[in-house]
Symmetry: C2
DNA sequence: AAAAATCTGTTGTAAAAACAACAAAAACAA
DNA sequence: TTGTTTTTGTTGTTTTTACAACAGATTTTT
């Protein structure tokens, strides 16, 4: 069950074969799409980073999640359930593959691009599902400490090492874990005081064997 | 983009056509599957209710999420990221469609069951994704009040009415929102005192126009 | 029909987290 | 390189939440 498919590898096919699909570029902070006005499109992030966010009545931004290379997104993955819009915003300069939903299956039969895309779409979606599932599991921790330990434990496994770097800023991490940043800093400090981890900026070393026992 | 497919409608095809796939029954509290030992199976819940949970070293259960009729699940939707097992447990008596992953695409060509299944699998998965996305959005609320209001607001939209019933027990709701039940009860009481909602057991009436402005 | 289990509801207390207000360091842009 | 913005880091205060301990109502099981 390999799932290492990179969309960029076959995008060059696109320019040669497919007239329907297009790639659009977005500058930092530009709105890529919204989720309330139904656009019947699917999107794949080819380059850059983006996030899905909601804005409340006071203009506060709440980040639902971050999107990275190869992530699929679009309203197809969401049900309408509020009168407030969801925005996908470019966090850095982005390149986005725009896929009109209705043409997904009935493009030209010879279109190598669509053949390859359809073959790999399930895997792209499964990857996305795995990401969301993972975040959900993080968020089922009731305490900041629990969220942190789950997150760090996972990073250690991914890096196959007890020494690793947190790949996002600590501010972003606080957003991702849905906690106040300064409260998170206090917990990080406590983890150091208790000799469970050591830390220098974003560099972490895990000192205990089984982090999850510490929750 | 209709997504109302019900697996049960074509399950009778199964018994006539397909020798590979099987349906298993599970009694309440039985373990349907685990997610760490790779079984390379996908599952569809035909009847009953189940939940995905993790147990910590003290035996405390943490529910990652609930599964309902037509939900697809299995380790394909998850990445391995911890040394502690995930369990799918029957909450009520269940009927589960067991789909060995490798046979998904190469069953007998005449097998109407697999043809129909493959045609509808993407929609089943998208439904699942929508559910998880929705829950994630709920969990991005920092306060119990915010979680409650998002949840209730959604129910009002789904029911197309300001009067509706919470379809799960309040204990389950607290689990779902990842908050302490008694703390949630206090917030529910406060919402009543502030005349934002009225409530009798699980029956809710929303008294304000735009709940999300109250967060 | 009785017993057991689950669910709703309440209260007080302890613990945790959010919020606010800064300062220094680092990264980025003009 | 200088100014601007973002990020890391710390500390006190206030608010929120979890936890514990109940009791009555409801549902499920035997």
């Amino acid at each position: 069950m390999k799932r290492n498919f990179d969309v960029n590898h076959f995008v060059e096919e696109l320019s040669k074969n497919c007239a329907i699909t297009e790639i659009k570029k977005f500058k930092k902070d530009e709105i890529i799409t919204t989720y309330l006005i139904r656009r019947n499109q699917m999107f794949i992030l080819l380059k850059g980073e983006a996030y899905l966010a909601r804005y409340d009545s006071e203009g506060n931004r709440r980040i639902i999640y971050y999107l990275k290379k190869n992530d699929v997104f679009g309203e197809a993955f969401y049900k309408i359930h509020t009168n407030r819009e969801l925005f996908v915003v470019a966090k850095k300069d982005c390149e986005v593959l725009m896929l009109p939903y209705e043409t997904l299956e009935n493009c030209n039969k010879d279109c190598m691009f669509h053949i390859t895309l359809l073959k790999n779409l399930p895997d792209l979606i499964l990857n996305r599902v795995a990401d969301i599932n993972y975040r959900t599991e993080l968020l089922t921790n009731k305490s900041i400490k629990g969220k942190l330990l789950s997150y760090l434990n996972n990073l250690a496994i991914e890096n196959n090492s007890k020494k690793f770097e947190i790949p996002i800023s600590l501010s972003e991490l606080a957003d991702y874990l849905v906690v106040d940043r300064t409260a998170m800093m206090k917990q990080l400090k406590k983890l150091q005081d208790d000799k469970i981890i050591s830390k220098n900026k974003n560099k972490i070393t895990i000192l205990k064997d089984d982090l999850l026992n510490e929750v």
